[in-house]
């Protein structure tokens, strides 16, 4: 009974942490734009949280930089289980134009296990909504 309630609340109201791991800001402003009145991601119960300890889903943007790698892993460990990672944008998926740069790791999946990929450079807010809804449906 309690488990069902927890699962229901997790699907109905996931709290997300926005983690910039070396992105160019474009995906970040599009994520913010998705939370704003026009697209209004909050109607799915999604709330942006400041601390990883409150979050269920980590939205990662950017290819992980060398200096950021250890910090990203530490933030991932701080998120309580069960946790989900969404790689947002082309550089979070494969490195995009930064592929081959000496300081970028070339994708989130090099460091963290990823549950959902959202393509685009940068992503459009509609794509983000689509990706998040698909992730939530897969949890049901």
């Amino acid at each position: 009974m309690i488990e069902r309630l927890v699962h229901w609340s997790r699907v109905k109201s996931p709290w997300v942490l926005h983690l910039n791991t070396g992105a160019c800001n474009a995906c970040d402003i599009e994520i913010l734009a998705a939370l704003m009145p026009r697209f209004d991601l909050e109607r799915f119960g999604i709330l942006l949280k400041g601390t990883p300890r409150h979050a269920d889903v980590i939205i990662c943007t950017g290819p992980i930089t060398r200096q950021n790698r250890d910090r990203v892993v530490r933030i991932y460990e701080q998120v309580p289980d069960p946790k989900f990672v969404v790689a947002v944008g082309a550089c979070a998926m494969s490195g995009c134009v930064y592929r081959g740069a000496y300081n970028s790791m070339g994708g989130i999946d090099q460091v963290l296990p990823v549950n959902a990929y959202i393509p685009g450079c940068p992503i459009r807010p509609d794509a983000l909504i689509d990706g998040v809804v698909k992730l939530l449906n897969s949890l049901k």
Binding site: N20, A26, R71
Partner: protein, 401 residues
């Protein structure tokens, strides 16, 4: 008693990874230090291995908010190297997108400033109006953020009559909304009370610390690359350089709102005087051996690109000095003797774009003037040595709760 607090790299007040180390005396900041490099990807090195055309799309991705600034700055530099005169209509469209980008960036900043000041509904309002500009950019270029409009010798997409009319219609809406914000920023007592007197930067300090953009103009220095060293078609456009004398965060907000009004006038002028003709001229693939320095007034201040070519189709060196990097020393001066609660506001007031500023900076030795280049393995050795000598506390004492 003085104690040290570190903020970041992941912190709700900062939207990008940057680390602030502060020495506090009670609630007052006595000293501040910035730790950078969390967002350094190595774009300058990457640019050396790509052709000039490929670099157009790489320089665009230096930053997402002022992507067109970096691309235009690079394009103008390479056009100078190629001794190419761009098509007139192309230049007009380029300037139009420059100004549209300024509008979207300033509206974004206003919202963020409102949020940091605790004015959440203002944040929602400005971001709703920002969508109008995003729609215009979407119809012109086909993308909301990275426009990819520039090419050597002009632009890649033309504007037709329907788009022209759409932009002119949208401008009226934006004008009325911005007038409302200007009124609000100047008269709303809670907003004015929160912003005025915070993050003081005197005129002398601003000049001495080499501040740029709205940060400098809010300290009463009318400096704008568009006026001082006109590029594109800015020498044909009538506009004013907006300044404020209050030297605080409120002044920076007022300067940005006034600049919005100027940008609307510029956009209207450009659309009404759009010349007919081709949008681009043919550009050569290879570039003669030379070097060039290109300046551009980005929404955050003066953006500088240095490009060196060696006769091939790839640049030998690209150096980017983004406006945020120039504003860091001024930020430290603003933070000093301020309250800890004002950090997000002061930091947001320079409109920081950390990914722009994460470039390699080579420092010379202050006394001998020598500069040294370290290899990656040498840096690793230095770091290992440093941590070996450092006395760490035991793990139990790190997290007492």
């Amino acid at each position: 008693m003085e104690f040290k607090v570190s903020l970041g790299p992941q912190h709700p007040a900062l939207h990008e990874p940057i680390s602030l180390r502060m020495t506090l005396d009670g609630e007052i900041i006595r000293d501040a230090d910035l730790k950078l490099g969390y967002n350094h990807r190595g774009i300058e090195k990457l640019a050396e291995s790509r052709t000039f055309i490929q670099n157009l799309y790489l320089t665009e991705r230096i930053c997402g908010i002022c992507s067109f600034s970096h691309q235009t700055c690079f394009t103008q530099g390479v056009e100078k190297l190629m001794e190419l005169v761009p098509a007139k209509r192309g230049l007009y469209i380029r300037t139009l997108v420059c100004e549209l980008e300024r509008v979207h960036s300033h509206l974004l900043w206003l919202g963020v400033a409102g949020q940091e000041a605790g004015f959440e509904s203002f944040f929602m309002y400005t971001w709703r109006d920002r969508e109008v500009v995003m729609d215009i950019l979407d119809t012109i270029s086909g993308n909301r953020v990275h426009y990819s409009m520039n090419t050597f010798g002009g632009v890649r997409r033309d504007i037709d009559e329907i788009q022209r009319k759409h932009i002119l219609d949208s401008l009226d809406l934006l004008r009325t909304r911005t007038e409302y914000y200007l009124n609000l920023a100047a008269t709303e007592p809670t907003f004015v009370g929160r912003l005025s007197g915070v993050g003081k930067l005197s005129k002398e300090q601003a000049i001495a610390l080499c501040a740029v953009g709205p940060t400098l103009r809010a300290s009463g220095v009318p400096m704008d690359v568009r006026k001082d060293d006109p590029y594109a078609v800015y020498d044909e456009i009538p506009f004013e350089v907006c300044t404020a004398d209050s030297c605080d965060v409120l002044g920076r907000a007022v300067v940005r709102v006034k600049e919005l009004m100027q940008s609307y006038n510029i956009i209207e002028f450009l659309l009404k005087n759009l010349p007919a003709g081709p949008i681009k001229v043919k550009a050569p693939r290879k570039v003669k051996e030379n070097e060039v320095f290109s300046r551009y007034e980005a929404p955050r201040g003066e953006n500088v690109h240095y490009i060196k070519s060696n006769g091939s189709d790839k640049p030998e060196r690209l150096k980017v000095r983004a406006p945020t990097l120039a504003n860091y020393p001024a930020t430290i001066a603003m933070l000093k003797d301020g309250f800890i609660a004002d950090i997000p506001l002061i930091f947001a007031a320079i409109d920081p774009c950390i990914c722009c500023a994460e470039r390699l900076v080579q420092l010379d030795h202050p006394r001998s003037g020598e500069s040294k280049v370290l290899t990656f393995s040498q840096l690793r050795q230095m770091a290992n040595q440093r941590y070996k000598n450092k006395q760490f506390k035991k793990k139990e004492t790190l997290w007492p709760f």
